[in-house]
């Protein structure tokens, strides 16, 4: 990738003679080579025992729950304040309010203005983030240990004392409008908005764009932001996760001092939202004239995070489209070369989130790619998964688990998942055994239950003039035309 490629460059200024020392004496290499049989993969000893960082918790008097994961390798600390202030609870008339409120936290808080907050964070070497997904808002901080106290002061201002000045609301609103105007340039971004809009519709929160529409953005105001903040940013609907080079006692002291006085408030339960009834399989074409590739998204409403099928679905998805050697990627990329990568995912949320299979494919092979997608999505239901494929997927998930807990940021991301979805904090201690208990019959059962080709919404963002005839000839359903917002094009 270009960005990476350029970023890696540097210059070798000195000849690498320094490194050429023999520091250990070992057996002569010729003797070892003679014994080497390259024709077989090495036989590996058993994997190391799984040892994951432990979560400790305390609850402050204002019901604020504090979870601490001690990791002392590097003197850095990651703090995440997870709030029940996601887009799923924003009013239907104002999509984008949750993410906008999160953005506004940083645009003036306590005695600092917007630029002063940014300046202070950078001066402390801190990464300060405020964001919202459908299911939660998160205020995050990643900072060297020795700057932690000052950074927590800043964090407390941002969470507890945002000013929401009119001038800053206007400024951020106008910036967001300018960014929304650019969305139609990027076919992947277009698909990212069109797919959930078509699968869920505007009546369901997961169908609304996280960053709002042109119309909703225009009606963002200080009052609406302040009201959303007041209703949802409360300690009894929040949890703080501290990961890194701190002790439980230290974290408790530092956070009690700053968040112990945070005032409780009644937070209404997450509004119920019924997923729309499955529709007949349809191809939704979003025209992008001149596009070099077609961006494909195939799926429908999937499962909530609380589903008892979660572990079987993890195994299923790893086999189908969750790893490099998954069926979709092997077929569309490594067998046919239609794409740089094909994947699938169950986005399990607090509500039932979407199942989606996706790829960007060369325009001329749009129809052929759809054929291969549908073939794999049907095969995973029709045939039991062979044992070696099942074993590989389970090993990939379970043996790869420690890597998810190597850095403070990665570990925080995994533990954050437990907080957002209300899962027990010892969840990962039993994760591997639950994955390992999944059978081929389980995989086929959940495939049949949660992947339903008769009711797929197939979204294709591409050059209509090049791809329409081919898609029509597939006879996989009616073709309708939509814009990037998922709305009908007349």
């Amino acid at each position: 990738m270009g960005g990476w490629a350029d970023g890696c460059r540097g210059a070798r200024l000195a000849a690498a003679a320094l490194g050429c020392m023999f520091v250990l004496s070992v057996y002569p290499s010729s003797r070892l080579s003679a014994q080497l049989d390259r024709t077989k993969p090495p036989v590996l000893p058993p994997p190391p025992a799984l040892k994951l960082p432990v979560v400790q918790t305390v609850t402050l008097p204002n019901e604020l729950e504090l979870a601490v994961v001690e990791m002392h390798k590097v003197p850095v600390v990651d703090v995440q304040i997870v709030l029940d202030a996601g887009a799923a609870r924003e009013p239907a008339d104002l999509p984008g309010l949750a993410t906008f409120t999160a953005t506004m936290l940083q645009q003036g808080a306590g005695r600092r203005g917007a630029l002063e907050i940014a300046d202070e964070a950078a001066f402390l070497g801190a990464q300060l983030g405020t964001a919202a997904s459908y299911d939660a808002a998160t205020v995050s901080l990643h900072v060297p240990k020795r700057r932690l106290e000052s950074a927590l002061d800043l964090l407390a201002d941002v969470v507890l004392r945002p000013t929401f000045a009119d001038s800053e609301v206007t400024r951020q609103r106008e910036l967001r409008r300018a960014q929304i105007a650019q969305l139609g340039d990027n076919p992947v971004a277009m698909a990212g908005i069109a797919f959930p809009a078509i699968v869920y519709g505007r009546a369901h929160p997961y169908g609304r764009p996280l960053n709002g529409t042109e119309a909703s953005t225009a009606s963002l105001s200080r009052d609406r932001v302040a009201e959303f903040y007041r209703a949802a940013y409360r300690p009894n609907a929040a949890r703080i996760l501290v990961t890194g080079d701190v002790t439980l006692a230290e974290a408790r002291r530092l956070l009690s001092a700053r968040f112990g006085g945070w005032e409780r408030g009644a937070v209404s339960p997450l509004p119920e939202a019924a997923a729309p009834a499955p529709a007949v399989r349809t191809v939704y074409l979003v025209d992008k004239p001149g596009a070099a590739q077609s961006v494909i998204r195939i799926g429908h409403v999937g499962v909530a995070r609380a589903t008892p099928d979660y572990f079987a679905l993890q195994v299923l998805n790893t086999i189908l489209g969750g790893a490099f050697t998954s069926r979709l990627n092997q077929n569309l990329r490594e067998t046919h070369g239609y794409t740089y990568g094909a994947f699938s995912q169950f986005s399990a949320g607090r509500l039932a989130g979407p199942f989606v299979a996706s790829a960007s494919v060369v325009t001329a092979k749009t129809d052929s790619s759809l054929i291969e997608f549908l073939k794999e999505l049907r095969r995973i239901r029709d045939e039991p998964v062979p044992d070696p494929e099942l074993a590989k997927a389970k090993a990939y998930i379970t043996l790869g688990l420690p890597a998810d807990f190597e850095t403070t940021g990665a570990a925080a991301a995994r533990f954050r998942e437990l907080l957002v979805y209300g899962l027990p904090l010892d969840y990962f201690a039993h994760y591997a055994e639950r994955i390992n208990a999944v059978t081929a019959a389980d995989v086929q059962r959940v495939a049949r239950q949660h992947i339903d080709p008769d009711h797929f919404d197939i979204i294709v963002v591409g050059d209509k003039s090049q791809i329409e005839a081919g898609i029509k000839a597939l006879s996989e359903g009616p073709i309708v035309y939509r814009d990037l917002w998922g709305q009908e094009v007349k």
Partner: protein, 456 residues
């Protein structure tokens, strides 16, 4: 880049830098052992038992700057072919075996080098060594025209996905074409042209492999939950019998300069125009390289930077602004870009950019701005100590420093480069490399609207 990944974080980390107040040496120290096999393969070993993982990281000293005319993009295409199986590893097994052991892998190509990593639970260490040694020693018998064709298709889709189908995605190659003369190895992008990718043959693959994929043109770093003695024995076991290759000659063109400012306009399928400025600067790790990183930070890193404040926050004529120093093996460049808001043109943006760059060149940054940049770099540096594997993990960084400065554990010294930067040096760098130098000014504009571009 072989697999899609979110690389923004790693990208910034590696461009990056450092602090004013001292960290403990321990925090930025990556102790290692090194040895070189008789066939020339240099090996770096680093122990870190905090997590039961191991990363095997191989750098080949070849990149797109080693390509021949008419074969741009070949080094990266070859990177893809390295995963297509070798004499004892059937096609597809490289990935399947690693995943079945709980591992992961990837590769990436730049102008200067190609790297590969395999991360796995520590019990699996022999597996990546077997896989990596087989493709270094025994690749060619298994490479067929069909395999080359297949990965050619994948790479052409990578080009479509990451460049052609992405707004402003073709800006970079248009800048390189104008910043470097046609015979300069940085004249073309790493991804190459579609036509050149189509032209690559099986014979090209064989020649490239024999020339560059040799133990004496590679460095292997292994980091993580290892014991050096056992790791060394395994390395010898798998790599010692691979024969040395010819000595590699790499291009070392003389420094290039622009004789005049170069203005160009590119029409793209975009709603709003974006201006790119690019200047020749200095190679990576040369005098001025770290200073230019600090300058980029002062100008455009985050909302407290000068250009963000003027363009996005106060005047509200742009949506974003980015600046970075990019120091390579052969040359360096400083790039800056800003995207206009609807209703604003690039002449308007460029006037403000010039004003702000001149201000730094005339009065320098404040001491707080320099210190802020140093603190930010220090923090990034610390976070780079957290991970053993992947791109930008400790194994990859040992190889990075070894390749560019010849000292694998260069972390603390690298940090020192940034600690020493002064406001006066930043001021001088802004004058010397930006204000007093010629540049490429590329206007990317909506189709049919060249009038939105920068007027000379």
């Amino acid at each position: 880049m072989r697999k899609i990944a979110t690389l923004a974080a790693a990208f910034l980390a590696l461009l990056s830098v450092y602090p004013a107040t001292r960290l403990s040496c321990q925090a930025l120290h990556v102790p290692y052992q090194t040895f070189t096999l008789p066939n020339g393969l240099q090996v770096l070993l680093h122990e870190d038992h905090s997590v039961p993982l191991v990363s095997v990281n191989m750098w080949y000293h070849v990149g797109s700057s080693d390509e021949k005319p008419g074969r741009t993009g070949f080094a990266h295409l070859f990177e893809h072919i390295m995963f297509m199986g070798s004499q004892h590893v059937p096609t597809g097994e490289f990935d399947r075996l690693l995943e079945a052991a709980g591992g992961d892998n990837n590769g990436s190509t730049t102008e200067d080098r190609t790297n590969y990593y395999e991360d796995a639970p520590s019990n699996a260490l022999p597996l990546p060594l077997w896989l990596d040694s087989d493709r270094l020693g025994f690749l060619l018998p298994e490479i067929t025209a069909e395999k080359v064709d297949l990965q050619r298709g994948v790479v052409q889709n990578e080009r479509r996905q990451s460049y052609e189908n992405r707004p402003y995605g073709l800006a970079e190659e248009n800048i390189l074409q104008r910043l470097y003369p046609p015979d300069h190895p940085y004249h073309w992008p790493v991804i190459g042209s579609m036509a050149d990718l189509s032209a690559a043959t099986l014979e090209d693959v064989r020649g490239f492999f024999r020339t560059y994929y040799t133990p004496n043109n590679a460095t292997l770093a292994i980091a993580g939950d290892i014991t050096p003695r056992a790791a060394r024995e395994l390395v010898e076991r798998y790599f010692a019998d691979i024969p040395r290759g010819p000595t590699v000659a790499r291009p070392t063109p003389p420094a290039v300069q622009l004789g005049a400012d170069v203005y160009a306009t590119l029409e793209d399928r975009v709603q709003v125009p974006r201006v790119y400025d690019a200047w020749h600067t200095v190679k990576g790790f040369a005098d001025g390289d770290a200073t230019l990183d600090v300058l980029a930070n002062v100008l455009a890193s985050g909302r407290s930077s000068r250009l963000y404040k003027r363009l996005v926050y106060e005047l509200q004529i742009a949506t974003d602004v980015v600046a970075f120093q990019d120091g390579g093996r052969i040359d360096g460049k400083f790039e800056l870009w800003a995207t206009a808001r609807p209703g604003h043109d690039l002449t308007e943006l460029e006037r403000v950019i010039d004003e702000e760059v001149r201000k730094v060149a005339q009065a320098g940054p404040t001491s707080r701005e320099v210190e802020r940049a140093q603190n930010s770099f220090e923090a990034q540096f610390l976070s780079r100590m957290e991970r053993v594997g992947g791109f930008g993990g400790k194994a990859d960084q040992l190889n990075f420093y070894n390749y560019f400065v010849g000292t694998p554990d260069y972390f603390e010294k690298d940090l020192d480069r940034y600690r020493k930067v002064t406001a006066a040096e930043v001021q001088q760098a802004a004058r010397r490399y930006l204000v007093d130098a010629h540049r490429v000014v590329l206007s990317v504009v909506p189709q049919g609207k060249p009038e939105l571009g920068v007027k000379q």
